[in-house]
Symmetry: C2
């Protein structure tokens, strides 16, 4: 940096350099100085109703844009994004958590200041548990170095970081001699050569290799490389629940979502009978493994992530995922003839049956026919996700869900982040009624910034995922008239939907209503569920007690 920027502005410059254009949050007195810098910068401040919404919006923004940022005040704001930050950690989403804090001079005699939890560093210690790097910018002298270090770690691991700015530091000048640096990680060339040689031999010797394309391909921007590898070799590729849409689902080599016994039987059968599984950037979690109904044998696996490379039972260190995939592209892997493989069925035309009540199965059939090239599906945990996994997302579309951490209430605020990151996308939000009651009123923020998601509330009177495991009054929620939320917000359009015809009509109108959000209150039977959920809950039920 040539001129001496104030520290807050240095951070803003670094965020802009990473492609960040929007910062989500709620202000408070300890962070007002930084908010003032934000509104005078090229960054756009997006005020959510609650910090929780800001955390989820920043996470979704990062999944589309590459990096997200949430900016809140000390403790009363910061601790409200602990959960969304944990999710970003678990699902490898690079979010910068920026918190205001009491000034360093205010801390000297350890006074009882408002918003202080226990000690001045309590919030920092909380975020140490939930991020890959964290810092309190105690000292203007070291602040730029600290900012660089923390952001570099975020990019290296694609996970959230925490930056706390004491309010008397935010306007302090940075050291003019500081030069912003970005160290790039590299693979060890000898290790890389060896692991590639072994992997290529194993792939070429295989009769039926399969690629499992994990979420890290998306996070590290390797979707193009994946397509190239697949098209060089014609090796079939499956996604996981968390990585769904990492490859366009129309691709002839795409098998579908692999999720053990929870997924489609033909996909499971094909993947599990492979003699060479190539797992790229895939972290197989319990849900993605169909609650451990999956059978992926290590004996036949090659697995490379940002953390570890392994072939069968041995490991290699210092191998970057990027370099490994590029190595596979450059290597002489036998090109195969395209064979007969499972492939998602394109959606069928949907004809509403007059007077027929909507069922979960029919709802997803109808939604499948509704998707177009600009739709991004955002699925909340629950049947929204499990049913949503079977949707046939088009070329150019995205599918977003917290499919591993499974924090309910993600989808509505996520649509805020998604549409700000890419205004060309129209979010189709699938959310249960229980989840909507957590964060759905962030539709207020969506109205404020004139965005236009179509929100489908799966209104089945409670926590439908839990009923088959163990039911009780605790699985019920108070019935809301979700379609009347627009009356409270003075914005949006609401639809009360009981029948297939009403569903059909509401979706038709929603497609045309691009000037604001639409909310479809779809009444479903409390004990109805998608086939995928039925399979999942029967597996989960065994583990409750």
């Amino acid at each position: 940096m040539e001129t001496s920027l104030p520290i807050g502005e240095y951070l803003i410059q670094r965020l802009l350099a990473l492609g960040v254009r929007h910062v989500f949050g709620v202000p408070g007195d300890y962070v007002l100085g930084f908010y003032d810098q934000l509104v005078h910068s090229a960054l756009n401040v997006i005020n959510t109703c609650d910090e929780q919404g800001a955390g989820f919006a920043a996470d979704a923004y990062a999944r589309i844009q590459g990096v997200g940022a949430v900016c809140i005040t000390y403790c009363v704001g910061g601790l409200k994004v602990a959960n969304s930050t944990a999710q970003a950690f678990a699902e490898r989403v690079p979010v910068v958590v920026i918190s205001g804090a009491p000034g360093m001079k205010e801390r000297v005699k350890n006074p009882l200041l408002h918003h202080k939890a226990r000690d001045f560093d309590s919030q920092y210690k909380v975020f140490e548990q939930l991020t890959v790097a964290s810092t309190v910018l105690h000292d203007p002298e070291t602040a730029p170095l600290e900012i660089d270090r923390v952001l570099a770690t975020m990019l290296r691991f694609q996970r959230p970081v925490y930056i706390e700015i004491p309010r008397d530091v935010v306007s302090a000048p940075t050291n003019t001699s500081h030069v912003s640096q970005q160290k790039e990680d590299t693979s060890n060339p000898d290790t890389l050569r060896e692991v590639l040689r072994e992997a290529v031999d194993m792939i070429n010797a295989a009769q039926k290799p399969v690629i499992i394309a994990g979420v890290e391909l998306h996070r590290f921007g390797l979707q193009g490389a994946l397509v190239q590898l697949v098209e060089n070799t014609n090796i079939p590729v499956a996604s996981t629940l968390l990585s769904k849409s990492v490859i366009v689902e129309r691709h002839p080599c795409y098998l579908g979502v692999y999720e053990g016994g929870m997924g489609l039987e033909e996909v499971r059968e094909y993947v599990e009978s492979s003699d060479c599984l190539i797992l790229l950037g895939a972290f197989m979690t319990d849900i993605e493994l169909g609650v451990f109904t999956a059978r992926l044998e290590q004996e036949r696996s090659i697995s490379v992530t940002s953390e570890k490379a392994s072939i069968r039972y041995h490991n290699y260190e210092e191998v970057r995922l990027q370099d490994f995939i590029q190595g596979l592209i450059d290597a002489k892997i036998t090109r195969r003839e395209p064979g007969m493989i499972p492939h998602p069925k394109p959606p069928q035309a949907f004809s509403p049956v007059p007077g027929e009540k909507v069922t979960v199965k029919r709802l997803f059939q109808r939604l499948n026919a509704f998707l177009d090239d600009d739709t991004v599906v955002i699925a909340d945990p629950g049947d929204a996700l499990f049913g949503g996994a079977d949707l046939f997302v088009h070329g150019g579309t995205e599918f977003l869900s917290p499919a591993n951490y499974l924090s309910m209430g993600y989808a509505v605020p996520a649509s805020l982040g998604v549409q700000l990151a890419n205004p060309k996308l129209r979010p189709l939000v699938l959310v249960g009624d229980g989840a909507f009651q957590m964060t759905g009123m962030e539709l207020s923020t969506i109205a404020r910034y004139h965005l236009s998601p179509i929100v489908v509330v799966l209104n089945n009177g409670g926590y439908g995922t839990e009923r088959p495991m163990l039911d009780g009054p605790f699985n019920d929620v108070h019935p809301w008239r979700y379609h009347r939320v627009p009356e409270v917000l003075g914005a949006g359009r609401g639809f009360d939907i009981e029948t297939e015809e009403q569903l059909d009509e509401a979706l038709r109108v929603s497609r045309g209503h691009t000037e604001g959000f639409c909310i479809l209150d779809v009444h479903l039977d409390p004990h109805d569920s998608s086939p995928a959920l039925q399979r999942l809950t029967s597996a989960l039920k065994k583990r409750v007690k």
Copy 2:
């Protein structure tokens, strides 16, 4: 315990013994087994919309009932109550945070389970920062001892604790030989004798002693002892913002709320000119000190809390607050003639001026006249609190506010906890529009359990407390039609209020509408504020940058 209870049921018995009757929370698969035990016990499960609401409700419940409990699932639930737990820590509220968790057997090979943040103990480490005691019930053998230890620490310090129950432990039998124990802390009798002798001499030698009655008197149930001390001696008594209503405000010895330059001048003048300040259970925080405008000289102070006793510049250890106050009651403190002291003015009758728009000042005048003996005022941070501090709360009423930690969005869910703890109380909730947008939809839970708070939304278009410090678009919120929330919830009554007559009429109708909640959407000028807030923000403004 004579029979071998399952561990979850042992915890339930211990909660019942502490007077807990309601547990707030949201279920999830890792905690379903315990929920099943809860609904089959004498405890009532109260399902909130979001875990944040459960955390605040449990905090408010504890302030009325003595102990509160919140029960949530692992990480996706637990981390959402990090903030409310921090508040309970800061404001000394005994809340038991009970979290479900993956079973011990599931953890062995460190698999990637859903809801896991970083490591299996990440959530535990987070709560170590925010509680006075925390435990993971790893082992059925030690679980009862651990539960006893953690609950005893909670009672000793009147602060929150954390209990994590792996789901495969919840139904395991407790050790039959375990006998539940409660060790009582005691004062060192020699130290107690010396500190009392010195304090009594100092009080008797003083011309103008004043008691500052802090929040710990409420937490330790010492309100009766305070009244006895005051009536033995006729020493005038002030409360703090956090302890307001610790003594009935009609008491002839009651001065008012002492809050430095933020409070009424006559109270400040009287307290600060005292030659012997007796601070009992008072933690003077920045807000309560009127953002450090207070002048309480240590040279003339006696201060005893649960943590520390000090006279002037020296300290005593091992002195219990309870024993010190009882000692003062038993000692020969000179009884004084009641003098002329400041005293809150009883509310004046309110006559609405036809057609006149409601101002903040007039709103509080009207509310002052509205309070009756069964009203409990619950004030959210912001002008709801600062204006609310001047309300004249009656004998038998309560005033609740997070006046130190100041987490916005407390008041609506708090009213849920308050009215369940004491159904005879009618909550009057004062909440800003910004705060309502965070948690106000917990009115859903209030409707579900047929409670009847009167919710006054101070609708001034944004974060009014911040505007005088540093204004910008980030202080605006999207305008909701708060009075139409009943249409979404299918419950409650809404009132749209612009004028004094409308306010008057709405309060009259609300008083009679006891079968459900009422919400008063009171439109105020964005730049209007209470005199107390005007004084506060001018003090805060100096500290923003």
